[in-house]
């Protein structure tokens, strides 16, 4: 299990980047009763059989490490939503993309803490690869969004410790306002 909701967000978006998505939209919304996380990508997608297996903890993409049989990313998320009066859905089409959506009861005692949203977003914005990521954050009616292309344009690159730190400062300033 992951410690926080931000960790689940990191894990799902990392899947999209590994699936070579060009465009990813990640949303984190907090309402009165529920917290909703959704990730939509146009990566390689999965066929029906792979989609079913992806929710099995003893299956992983065989191209990663041939001898390994454990893939806990999605199973962790499914288990967490089941424990927290939440919901989980995933849709995927090979060659088109994947969309994951889940909710957690905001007042459920077993719902993990939100965790480091700023860390999660900064890390996801600064991964290797040529992808656009938009992160949309809504909390009780207030909202902000960050796009990777905007950060790249402002900072020139997102790979050095200096740029990553400035991106973090920027995301933190937005998170503090909501």
């Amino acid at each position: 299990m992951h410690f926080s909701l931000s960790d689940y967000l990191s894990d799902i978006v990392a899947n999209s980047i590994e699936a070579k998505a060009q465009t990813i939209t990640a949303t984190l919304k907090e309402f009165d009763e529920i917290i909703e996380i959704s990730v939509v990508d146009n990566g390689c997608g999965m066929d029906e059989e792979t989609l079913r297996k992806a929710q099995d903890p003893f299956y992983t993409d065989p191209s990663k490490h041939a001898a390994r049989k454990a893939g806990f990313g999605l199973p962790f998320l499914v288990q967490a939503t089941e424990l927290c009066f939440g919901s989980f859905s995933i849709e995927s089409k090979q060659g088109i993309g994947t969309s994951v959506s889940c909710t957690f009861g905001r007042t459920c005692i077993d719902t993990p803490p939100l965790g480091g949203v700023v860390s999660a977003v900064t890390a996801l914005m600064t991964m290797d690869g040529d992808y656009e990521l938009e992160f949309i954050r809504i909390r009780d009616g207030e909202e902000y969004s960050v796009k990777r292309s905007e950060l790249l344009e402002a900072l020139g690159e997102l790979e050095t410790a200096g740029s990553i730190n400035m991106a973090r400062t920027y995301v933190n300033s937005l998170e503090e306002t909501i």
């Binding site: 299990m1 992951h2 410690f3 931000s6 960790d7 990191s10 894990d11 990392a14 590994e18 990663k64 490490h65 041939a66 001898a67 390994r68 454990a70 893939g71 806990f72 990313g73 962790f76 480091g116 860390s119 999660a120 890390a123 600064t126 991964m127 290797d128 905007e150 950060l151 344009e153 402002a154 900072l155 020139g156 790979e159 050095t160 410790a161 200096g162 740029s163 990553i164 730190n165 400035m166 991106a167 973090r168 400062t169 920027y170 300033s173 937005l174 503090e176 306002t177």
Partner: protein, 129 residues
């Protein structure tokens, strides 16, 4: 600090760039942090945060920091690889935020391995890949 705009962010970058341009720098150091499900579950984001902060504290802002998926060393996450000129490419294991700070100070700035956290016995099935 109040809410920043993208123009504020660009101005911050231009200020920093002037500082960096005054110094002799090269991107000779690369840090790679494992950020798969296993790394995230073991606290790799806290390590990432702490190392970025310490690199900026120590004013070595030109270090390239990359993230990667599961490197296959799930049992000893968070793992961090450091590739620096004049030093052996090194994989560290069980790198908490505190150890990440030590790696920046001792390995990247000081040129000395943090020996007790060097991962010198990697998973055999991964080495065979």
């Amino acid at each position: 600090m109040g809410k920043m705009t993208l123009a504020d962010l660009k101005a911050m970058r231009d200020d920093k760039k002037k500082e960096i341009d005054r110094r002799e720098t090269d991107k000779a150091v690369t840090v790679i942090i494992g950020m798969g499900t296993c790394g995230i579950a073991a606290g790799a984001k806290a390590t990432f945060d702490a190392m970025i902060a310490e690199l900026n504290n120590c004013d070595v802002v030109d270090v390239v920091v990359k993230q990667t998926g599961c490197m296959g060393f799930c049992a000893v996450e968070p793992t961090v690889q450091v590739i620096a000129n004049g030093m052996p490419a090194t994989i560290y294991n069980r790198v908490s935020a505190e150890i990440g700070v030590r790696i920046v100070k001792e390995h990247i700035v000081g040129g000395k391995l943090v020996s007790e956290y060097v991962y010198d016995n990697p998973s055999k099935d991964i080495l065979a890949d």
